[in-house]
Subunit: 733 residues, 2 copies
């Protein structure tokens, strides 16, 4: 999985509050959280850091990481793991490798798709060889496949189900079309593919073919591979179908999947108790799907919005003459995967951890997804390593995590988050996710409220290559393009006039465990562009030709990520944007109330909303107190103050968890449990609204109110600790 | 031409003011303009009228009219003319035939399109024969062609110009693509096709191919002919390219094109002074256009919004290897066409004329466009004829006009309007246009303000077949579908909350002369649906299968049109909705001011807007006075009062005419002079705004103010004449 698709969906507008300009007016250029002395040190460190980037070094990592396909669980992926560990060790980082034994498919297995009647037509499920692209003929490239597909061999008539969303299956039913016993054809887009399988199976389908439509990802968007960067007729989107109501290993929800042969025995679920897909499912490129779709003869044409880009009218049914066979035989087993974490121990606050990560397993070569992010992080590890060799050391501990088995369901990072949950709650400052972070030339970001100010300040300090603009100015100047997987019903980002849009963190990548299960502040940032997502062509040839022939985007992102990391690691007082909690909560709670009012027009969550004013007052007082405190040179209490600051985000961790899956513990954010990719802000309320129920609202109101009061009280505590003699407006209730 | 495409664009919303309910609360059910006694007679007449409709009779006319292709100027069209005249004479109507000698193409002539290099490929320019459709093999069906195309034989490389709109050619230039010396490919939609040719020629193109794109009118909208009602691969949109800055015969602007051999000699322009297209132009179906488009190899893909529905990425240029030949040799000459007008002389007010019309010439068989309208009007003529035979006679004169040569540029009706301009100014009550009026099952209408109330009242009195709804309730309940020729920049209709949307009258049909040149109140109404617009398949087979297999829509429209006609013919005081002048003017003048403010932000047309309040006061007083007057039984002044009412719309006739073409004399409405189809309300201001000029605004403000004051004064005169003893709020200035 990758966050790049849902991330794009959050960038619908480009609007100039200057947080930095207002936050520290007394210390221009003003870095939030730093005393004047410490700021001088920091600026010198950052300037030194920014001298060290090298496009050639970034490309060299990318080439080594992406020389062969390296799916999780494969020998080739272990070689990638070893390269990562060796590179970090050479840079003087301590490296730990955390093994986890998880339930994984062993590969595509046997896949057969064919038209059986009216005439037998074998359907291609592999990508074409192109002589321009030396990687495309690698024998280790796997056929297109969907991980966790059920096993079966079915032959049946066909039904087209648009994007295979909940509402699409409902509309089919309303039109009198049954999918029971049929092979369903659904196109990619609109939700996480696993939900297409879940809904098809729930409606009785015999099998599912998920195809890429040229209207969503192909020739209708621009020139196609190898001439251009869009999907051509044989390009296949691989991907997992896992939709269990938790994230991670399907057999060990809430517990780390520690090695079977290790000292600690983790209880694993029985497979029969795990809701994995039972029907066969496989993906098709549009050059193959057309062989079925063009033979459909059902008399009903599709309703508005269901027509795709193939050159005929789409129909709802194939008719009785058209039968299609789909066979999938996919072996699955408990297999070992490895999380690789490099650590640079902090000089002053070793037990305060700044964590950044990106997965390293890939569906094929993984040039953009994920290893553009890996290469950037390895380059940063090397740059920081050089600074350490030259005698410098950051004040807090920095951890760079390389996750395994993300593609199968964000598994490695979730297991590691479960394994170190209690320690992370105590020590973690923030988690930053850089999955596929250098996949294009357009900057985008999503973040929890407290990291938004830092993102803005940091992007203002880095130059966009070959331009006279900062990354911030570039970000402000572009509007994000269309996103084929844009999901109706996802939460709109809280937009501040004059700022670039900072998205909400949804599903689809390794921030889920740290953010939604552990409760750490989190962000995701990267360069976006057209990609051949989850296809075999996501390789160096594609990267050289279409993503960034100059290789300057990697170094630029290294500067952004290095600056974010150094500021979090070196600030006197953590640079959290606490006022954003109040303003963003106000937006998202009002949106949740609107969702409730659609079916309960007079219902109000005023008791929750009414806490925002007090929260805002305390947050503003805390920001003011931090500025004064930093000017006053009182370093003795930093550890205590930062301990409280690290607990702010924990206010949203709810021990009951969400009603749709108690693994999700954040009252603030979750992925949309009906689509998988989209973000839900205030998920407790949104889930209740999705059921058109008011039954649990009083309980939810109490829990949300408690979270906000808890956050407000911590801010009040901070204010009192920073301004000991004076009495300030409190929030204790 | 037909209004059905632009008309659809006006039906974007469905929103329930009841005009009738408020207009005559004292005389339920309340017919505006009738005294209680006269209303009783009218209701009896209408009830009798509504007994007489017959689906079989409607179909019989349609079959006779559409048995062979009958383009203007052909022998076959003279046979249609004779059938129309004979049918009306048999129904006891007086029939007059008005000949006009106009400059017309004699047919498609010679058309050759071929790919010359890299390989020779002949390109088909004719529609396929389908055995299901007996009409499709008629040898009289002409190849696809564009009337008034220039003659030439060119071979050149190709450029794709999207819809060939002004902004498309500007965007090509901005992208560094020259069309000079090239064959341009532009798709239908977005403007009147003549402007595609005008802009291509102005930019130096050697030739133009206009193709139907499956994204606009083909398989992407639904199942295609003969399986469904949408364009299949060989369906060709024929049509005229005439864009002279006036409507009618290109050689006789402002003057009737009276016969060359008649007593009155009309001065005709020299051809060299008439801006007819000089470059060869011809239309292609998408099954032919694909042969060129798929061979294009230019390196630039099209920008956003330019991609169509053929199965590859569209490119801006064909590249140097691809050359295409286009030859057009189209003979043109002065030819005779005939306007056929049936008259039923009124019993009380013979010099007050209620006029309805529809053209009879067609691009091929003309089953929907136009002759569904012709058949409906002939049926109505017969029904009224029966009533006359039974001893009834309407109070005012009714004229039913069957226009010729509409398809070549709305020519016949424009010549007749020029010929009888002064008499029409004195005698005409209103013009109602029913071009292609029974083309589907969805009601739509456009009207000048004073006829909107009548439309609403009338549709409430007619039942929609096989439903428990009135036509009005049906109209209110549907939202119009998408319109492929929707034009950016067209005036939005003045929408009243709770009412169906009543569109603005734009270009494209026979209301132009009566409404925009003579200055009569006008409306256009009809049943809409998917049509194979201007193709050879617009025949009885298509009508039977896709338009209305029940043939009940024709009789229903006859009831609507009959009721509209009878109410206009029999009202004591003309049922004009005078308050609408004020409310609609307010909407349209404010929109015009907004258009001006985009480049002159502080400019205000307040001196014009300020007249609305007084107009509204007088209009409301006039409506109140009419109600009282009708209750008072004072018939002696009806002729005088109605004479003044007939002059209301004349307030907008401006002797200087519009700056883009002084043939257009209405300050209220014109067709958009940049696109042809769309409507411009307040065209004087909109044209100045299109030039981003303020120079002529003071003069325009004076002329608009004068028009509104004149209208207001006439209303004041009416009020005084209806309420002689009392003094009321006046508008004399």
């Amino acid at each position: 999985m990758t966050p790049s698709l849902p991330k794009l969906s959050t960038l619908a507008f480009a609007l100039a509050l200057s947080f930095a300009a207002t936050a520290q007016p007394t210390t221009p250029p003003g870095i939030t959280g730093f005393s004047p002395n410490q700021q001088a040190v920091e600026l010198k460190t950052e300037a030194d850091f920014k001298q060290q980037q090298d496009p050639a070094r970034f490309r060299q990592h990318l080439e080594r990481l992406c020389s062969v396909p390296h799916v999780a669980g494969s020998r080739e992926n272990e070689q990638v793991r070893d390269y990562i560990a060796e590179t970090m060790r050479k840079a003087d980082w301590k490296v730990d490798i955390y093994p986890h034994d998880i339930y994984l498919p062993k590969g595509p297995g046997e896949i057969t798709v064919e038209v059986v009647t009216p005439t037998r037509v074998p359907i291609n499920t592999k990508e074409f060889v192109f002589k321009e692209d030396k990687y495309a003929s690698d024998p280790r490239v796997m056929s297109g496949w969907n991980a966790y597909a059920g096993n079966g061999d079915v032959t049946a008539t066909v039904v087209y189900a648009n994007y295979g969303r909940k509402e699409d299956f409902e509309q089919l039913k309303a039109m009198g079309i049954s999918v029971a016993g049929k092979v369903v054809l659904a196109r990619y887009g609109g939700n996480f593919r696993g939900y297409k399988a879940q809904f098809a199976e729930a409606n009785g389908a015999a099998g599912l073919l998920i195809f890429t439509d040229p209207a969503d990802s192909g020739y209708m968007l621009g020139l196609t591979f190898p001439e251009g960067p869009f999907y051509s007729e044989s390009v296949i989107q691989r991907g997992s179908l896992l939709t269990v109501p938790y994230t991670g290993d399907p057999l060990t929800p809430g517990e780390p999947a520690l090695p079977m042969d290790g000292p600690i025995k983790i209880k694993r679920l029985d497979l029969k108790d795990v809701a994995l897909p039972k029907i066969p499912v496989t993906p098709l490129p549009y050059g193959s799907a057309i062989e079925i779709l063009k033979r459909m003869t059902g008399i009903k044409a599709v309703p508005a919005g269901w027509q795709g880009g193939l050159p005929f009218t789409y129909r709802l049914e194939g008719g009785p003459e058209l039968t299609v066979r789909l066979k999938v035989q996919q072996e699955k087993a408990i297999q070992r995967v490895y999380q690789v974490v490099g650590t640079l121990v902090g000089s002053e606050f070793p037990d305060e951890w700044v964590i950044a990560g990106c997965h390293y397993d890939a569906w094929s070569f993984g040039a953009t997804d994920p290893n553009s992010g890996t290469s950037m992080l390895l380059s940063m590890v090397e740059t920081l390593g050089k600074q350490v060799k030259a005698g410098y050391r950051p004040r807090r501990t920095i951890k760079i995590a390389h996750w395994d088995a993300e593609e199968f369901g964000v598994i490695g990072s979730a297991e590691w988050s479960e394994q170190f949950r209690e320690e992370l709650v105590q020590k973690a400052v923030a988690y930053m996710n850089y999955d596929a972070a250098v996949s294009g030339r357009t900057f985008g970001a999503a973040a929890s409220p407290s990291l938004k100010g830092l993102l803005i300040e940091t992007t203002k300090s880095v130059q966009y290559p070959d331009s006279n603009k900062t990354v911030y100015e570039h970000w402000l100047g572009h509007k994000a393009g269309g996103n084929p997987t844009r999901v109706a019903g996802s939460s709109a980002p809280a937009v501040v006039a004059g700022e670039p849009t900072i998205g909400n963190l949804g599903g689809g990548s390794d921030h889920i465990g740290p953010y939604m299960h552990v409760g750490m502040p989190a962000l995701s940032a990267g360069m976006e562009g057209p990609t051949l997502y989850h296809s075999q062509y996501d390789d160096l040839y594609f990267y050289d030709k279409f993503v960034d022939p100059t290789y300057k985007m990697g170094p630029m992102m290294e500067q952004v990520v290095g600056t974010l990391t150094l500021r979090l690691a070196n600030a006197d007082l953590l640079p959290f944007d606490v006022v954003r909690y109040a303003t963003d909560l106000d937006v998202h709670l009002r949106a949740a109330e609107m969702a409730i009012k659609t079916y309960a027009p007079t219902y109000s969550i005023a008791p929750v909303l009414n806490e925002i004013a007090s929260l805002k007052k305390n947050a503003e007082a805390a920001e003011a107190a931090r500025r004064s405190y930093l000017l006053g040179n009182k370093p003795e209490k930093l550890a205590e103050l930062n301990r409280t600051m690290r607990q702010l985000e924990q206010s949203f961790v709810d021990q009951k968890g969400m009603a749709f899956g108690n693994w999700y513990r954040s009252l603030y954010a979750s992925s949309d449990p009906y689509s998988g990719y989209a973000s839900w802000m205030m998920p407790g309320f949104l889930y209740e609204a999705s059921l058109k129920s008011t039954k649990n609202l009083p309980d939810l109101e109490a829990r949300y109110r408690k979270a906000i009061v808890s956050l407000s009280d911590k801010l009040s505590t901070l204010v009192q600790a920073m301004n000991p003699p004076a009495s300030v407006g409190g929030g204790n209730k």
